[in-house]
Amino acid sequence: MGENSLLNKERPPVFCPGCAHERVLKTLDRTLVSMGLAGHQIAMVSDIGCSGLFDTFFNTHALHGVHGRVLTYAAGLKLCRPDLTVVATMGDGGLGIGGAHLLAACRRNLDMTLLVLNNFNFGMTGGQCSATSPPDAVLSSGFLNRVERPLDLYRVAAAAGAPFVARCSAYQADLPAVMEAAIRYKGFAIVEIQGICPGRYTKRNKLTPEMIEANVRASGAVNGEIAGNAREEYGSAYRRQCAGLQPVSRPRKIEARFTPPARQRQAAAILGAAGQGIVTAGEVLALACLSGGLHVTQKNDYNITVLRGPSVTDINISPEPIDYTGTSQPKIIVALAAEGVERRRAMLAAAGPEALVLAAAGVALPDTRARVVTVDFKKAGIRRQDWALASLAWLAQQNIVITPGMLEAGLAERFKAPVVSSLKAMMEKVVE
């Protein structure tokens, strides 16, 4: 088909006689050629159904995927190849199954064009009703289309934020001009093209080009930019957001520079409530241990709610790399709220006399054989959300697991200097 066509000589178009898709295919070809585009500048992207034949029939880049997902492939391509002209085709079947992707594409506004070849039924699978079937059509889905409403793509797309929407007949004379405007539009452009499916739809329903044109006119759709939806194209906005980002530095390494109080495998658990900074305190403890040349693992257990429910952190500490990360019976249990105590009731019950329970005053404990030390953080003027960090200060004072130097190193890894200063001031209030 030479220089005047981008159609694929190896795979000439084959549609049912009288199918509107063939007209649209040829119109698209003429449009792309008249725009001066070469095959390698275009990606034809399609999915399942008769509209999914388009990519095969073009001598361009071609990607054909699974039903309703065409816009996802098109977006991946366009994000990575911003200069590529990306034209996606889908049918009214793909419109239904790919609805979430359509809405996302409208909201996102990547510079690509979607042609929705609407022939009001599933042609390829035998004429079932689709998202756009009129309620009075006679289709192979029995009465099902009579009891639901067709989707108005134009209005849905406009409501979802598409900046360019057109509704056309496959037979209207200015279809090439509408297609060209859509392809040239710097943003997401949708062209719904209504046409006849002679293989299925018009076997039992009367539909002519004149009727389609009348329907399109009667819908009152104004083709082109949607007032209020025009905005910066997504790829351009994305790249602008990224332009000033600084490269991320590699994970900080903590050198071993302290001698820890003990060099043996042990476990600690902090039992509290959401909002008490339990996980953060666990992290500080873990970082402090690293500064003592110890290996650690930290696991957290909390509910999805923020500021409500239990929060527990389990720390394993060892001079050797840690294999099994399940917490053995911890030697140190910090109990700061009833919620966490309840979550680890079995752990407290199983604790032996070698274990230490550091409990905040007012937190009831189940019967335990462990040595219990109660600290009245409240009386010391420490806010409840600081109790977890304050309990680390108590442990450091006693040289249990960590030393004051290790704790300071852990705090310095986790927080900025001014925060460390205020935390240290808070921690000074902790007395045995």
Binding site: A43, H64, L79, R250, P251, I254, L290, T325, G326
Partner: protein, 372 residues
Amino acid sequence: MGLSLLEGNEAIGWGALDAGCRFFAGYPITPATSVFNTMLRLLPPAGGIVIQGEDEIASMGYCIGASMAGVKAMTATSGPGISLYSEHISFAISSEIPLVIVDVQRLGPSTGSATKGADGDVQFLRWSNTGGCPAIVLAPVDAADCYTLTIRAFNLAETYRCPVFLASNKEIGLTKEAVDLDACEKPAPVDRLYCPEGRTCLPFAPAEGRDVPYFLPIGGERLSRQTSSTHGENGYITTVPTEIAAQIERLERKLTAAVDAYAYHSADLQADADTLLLTYGVTARAARRAAAELRAEGRRVSLAVLKTLWPSPENLIRQLAQPVRRVLVCEMNNGQYSREVERVLRDKTVVHVGHMNGMLVSPERIKEAYHG
């Protein structure tokens, strides 16, 4: 030598960055979300792209588009997301699209427990496509593995033009541990073989002496053709049985015939051992402890940790098990990989050790099974 405190999921992000990944799309799901968070922190400043998909199906679709554009792409999810990925896993396998898919497994079935671990997807990943074709599945044991195996996953995806799964586990992904990324094994990044300049390459014709076709990116000077339909070498739909069979057999052969080259594992074998603890994933850590304690009791026991689960490294498994009478397959499920080991080792006693209750399989449980 200093250590960093990292989650397994963060280590995956660093591995991806170092492997040359520059596209990530994902949908929030516990316990995989921190892979997404890490990629969002690392990629955009490095010139990469991170997208939050409207759902998991879309996330995979974006990755497929990006990979076909020639960019190394990754996504991450958990079991419920793998369910939704399935149609695009089939597409990526059938159409030889390089991708890395991270599954930070959580307790199933169904939406299960978001914050409890399991290795419940191990057979699901193997059979996740509609053609029954093989896929590569790697299983990390710890944060260091998360880093190294992510790079390996990209290299395998590029080498064999296929999706590669990283079967992690909440117990690895969300556990922070001491690790030195600079001390981790860092394989040199591998890139897919592009069709040589001046050559015409059919989209699915294997390159000379290989079972893998050359790649042409969509958007390059030369036209690229990609399809999810049953296709011949030319990338067009075909109904010719010999063409169909040739393509599907090649999809199988390119991975299974080569598995010895990527049968990653570690082995700690004892001469005269009667029993082999064969394990993978987080349970390998308990098995390591169990082996040490059994040896301290004077028992002879061998330990092998598989890091390549699929295609199953049959030669390796036979070789590891050859000296022993009995193999205990320790895994955090109700008996999934043990089925495969039974299939491979027909002349051995194969015993499954594991459970599905949200708890780690403990060293004690493995020792009990050892003692029978």
